[in-house]
């Protein structure tokens, strides 16, 4: 029990009443469950005849409050999944601090890391690929309990599994089935149940809706939101789908080439974003209404996200930015407060929407 972490559940002294939706971009929040400071992750990649260092995440800082859903958005290669993997210790961080209940996640090892894992769970994009094809659903859901709560009797474990199965909207008859017998939506419900069954506090959802069919997406989106509220979970919600992020998240962090471009409350971000990259992402998101879609026609952002091996000097976005000036090539813009956003752009004041 010497984990330095209070047990999950009911009466937690650090619990605070800061509800997600009212939480806009405030300065450092005293009741953050997770505080990430200057996180950098570097991969060694083969390049030409030798190796090169690829900085996938570069000095990223953010907080996540209890009961809050924070969206991580950006194009592929922006570093959103790498941040999540570094926090879960699936890839090593190069530098930075990730303080979770006052413990630095990035410094844990051995038994303490193992004990910490029960508080941090992951929901994957591909629900079928993330379930063991040779275990039945009951065993898949029971396994986290066997590992983290070995004191439970078989009967107690079954009770927990049944309760969790019901909580994600499935019946007990599913427990004897195998992953390949489930539909995509059912499999994702099991993926969610498996992540939640040991009552973690922080859940990373890596594109949890992207692989699902349109008519299933809304079911799972609603389910995640309901569970998040009921259980006061803190979610890191990684997605490239801005509309899904807007539906699911309280605050949004916009990434480009491993750097934070903007952090803002969801309503602020979609009404009055302050970064030209955020604006471009919002304008590129399709609107399922031909009148609205065709009324806003604007030239799409040109080019594609460059390789992090050759990140531009100054502001990394400047090579695609319609507002770039000389200063952008010389000076890296710092994250600063403009209106209700924290934004890293020299010309943020001029971005109006």
């Amino acid at each position: 029990m010497n984990t330095g972490v209070p047990q999950a559940g009911g009466a937690d002294p650090q619990r605070c009443d800061r509800t997600g939706s009212a939480a806009q971009a405030l300065p450092p929040q005293p009741c953050a469950l997770l505080a990430v400071r200057e996180l950098s992750v570097t991969y060694r990649v083969a390049y030409r005849r030798g190796h090169a260092l690829l900085r996938a995440v570069n000095g990223v800082s953010f907080e996540l409050a209890r009961g809050e859903t924070l969206g991580l958005v950006g194009e592929s290669g922006s570093g959103k999944s790498t941040i999540a993997r570094a926090l879960l210790r699936l890839v090593p961080a190069e530098s930075g601090v990730a303080s979770f209940h006052g413990t630095d996640l990035l410094k844990l090892s051995g038994a303490r890391l193992q004990a910490m894992r029960r508080h941090l769970q992951l929901i994957f994009q591909d629900p079928l690929a993330s379930l063991d094809p040779r275990m039945n659903i009951g065993d898949i859901l029971g396994e986290p309990l066997r590992v983290f709560e070995p004191q439970l009797s078989g009967q107690q474990r079954l009770q927990r599994v049944l309760a969790m199965t019901r909580a994600v909207g499935l019946g007990a008859e599913q427990l004897h089935r195998f992953a390949h017998e489930l539909s995509g939506g059912q499999a994702q419900r099991i993926g969610i149940a498996r992540a939640l069954i040991i009552e973690p506090e922080l859940i990373v959802c890596d594109e949890p809706l992207s692989a699902l069919d349109v008519s299933i997406k809304s079911q799972i989106g609603n389910l995640l939101k309901d569970l998040q509220r009921q259980l006061q979970l803190s979610l890191l919600f990684i997605s490239h789908d801005l509309a899904a992020v807007r539906f699911s998240c309280d605050r949004v962090l916009v990434l480009y080439l491993g750097r934070v471009m903007e952090i803002a409350g969801c309503d602020t971000l979609f009404k009055a974003c302050r970064h030209p990259y955020t604006r471009a992402l919002i304008r590129a998101a399709p609107i399922p209404d031909p009148v609205a879609a065709r009324a806003r026609r604007s030239a799409p952002l040109e080019g594609e996200i460059p390789s992090p091996l050759f990140a531009p000097s100054g502001c990394v976005f400047r090579t695609r930015c319609p507002m770039a000036i000389d200063r952008c090539a010389r000076e890296i813009p710092l994250l600063r407060q403009v209106g209700d956003s924290q934004v890293a752009c020299h010309r943020a004041e001029e971005v109006g929407d």
Binding site: G184, K225, L281, A285, P290, V291, E304
Partner: protein
């Protein structure tokens, strides 16, 4: 001389055997593609939309059994042998696939793959083909054509590869371009670029485009006319504005209501339809959507509703005749 739509599909069904029994992937489809139009086909996975496109080009699985008719101008495509079909595909009707990395040959330089189309269909000399390929790259907004021609697919970014696919598909100036989820694997910003490229090329060349997608948002951005597919059938077909303003099929309504939007008030709950799309090897009798439909009538489980024209150009296959509008998300 040839009035009417260049492509006419009538009563098309595509069946093939699978481990789980006979699968009818496409069921009794009637569809026209008019000259120069932008037709969107929307459906979920397993709705048969890809099988429909593949059957037009004779690319269905070898064991597939096709019946009905696919007429391109005077020719019945289903009767053509592969030599005659090769005169049509890549030439008069061409295709862009979802994943350009698997559709391009990784061993051949980009230039070789683009010029091959002209050498096969136009008997062009190497030099003429190369000149035309560089022009084509320019028209899909790939700069430095001569250098790109010497590169291999893996040296290009995802968006660039999809542009190469589009250049290949359009270089023979086809009358119809089929595109299967051409922007799904791309980032949103690149998707927007590719969609605007399709519109630009259509306006310039007059090529009709048939775009298959699961994303109603993509349809709303670019299509003139929409066909909605469910379990192998077209359940609704209409001009894009009519379809979005007044969907007549409960499935279309459900699709439309269940996607979150970035431009409307944020709901606390999305509207959602229960259940999942049916197993194509075990389709229910009657309307395949009936088990999930909130407007279901007794007749729906017995009789498959025919696709009928309700107002000019707006077709639906549904027994329910009253108004829709019961399905809504919960407001915040």
């Amino acid at each position: 001389m040839t009035a009417g739509p260049p492509l006419r599909i009538r009563g098309l069904s595509v069946r093939y055997p699978s481990d789980h029994g006979q699968i009818e992937a496409v069921r009794d489809i009637d569809l026209d593609v008019a000259a120069g139009e932008f037709l969107g086909i929307v459906g979920e996975s397993g709705s048969g939309k890809t099988q429909l496109l593949l059957s037009i080009l004779g690319l269905s699985a070898p064991r597939a059994e096709l019946c009905g008719s696919i007429r391109y101008r005077e020719q019945e495509l289903l009767d053509l042998g592969s030599a005659a079909l090769n005169q049509v595909r890549g030439n008069r009707i061409s295709m862009v696939f979802q994943d350009p990395m698997t559709a391009l040959n990784p061993y051949l330089r980009v230039g070789r793959q683009i010029t091959e189309v002209l050498r096969v269909h136009r008997d062009a000399t190497a030099r003429a083909a190369e000149r035309r390929a560089i022009e084509m790259l320019e028209s899909v907004h790939i700069p430095e054509g001569p250098r790109r021609m010497r590169q291999y697919p893996h040296e290009l970014s995802g968006g660039m590869r999809q542009r190469v696919m589009i250049a290949m598909a359009l270089i023979a100036e086809p009358e119809i371009l089929l595109a299967d989820e051409p922007s799904t694997a791309l980032d949103v910003t690149v998707q927007a670029q590719i969609l605007s490229l399709f519109q630009e090329l259509r306006a310039r060349t007059g090529t009709a485009i048939v775009l298959v997608t699961h994303d109603l948002g993509v349809i709303a951005e670019v299509a003139d006319r929409v066909a909605v597919m469910y379990a192998g059938r077209i359940v609704e077909q209409a001009p894009v504005h009519g379809l979005f303003a007044h969907p007549r099929h409960p499935y279309t309504e459900a699709l439309q209501q269940s996607i979150p939007r970035i431009d409307a008030p944020r709901p606390t709950h999305l509207a959602s339809i229960g259940g999942a799309p049916p197993n194509p090897a075990a389709l229910p009798a009657g309307c395949a959507f009936a088990p999930r439909c909130i407007y279901r009538l007794p007749i729906c489980e017995a009789v498959t509703p025919p696709l009928i024209e309700t107002t000019a150009g707006h077709w639906k296959a549904c027994h329910h005749d009253g108004a829709l509008g019961k399905l809504r998300g919960e407001a915040a």
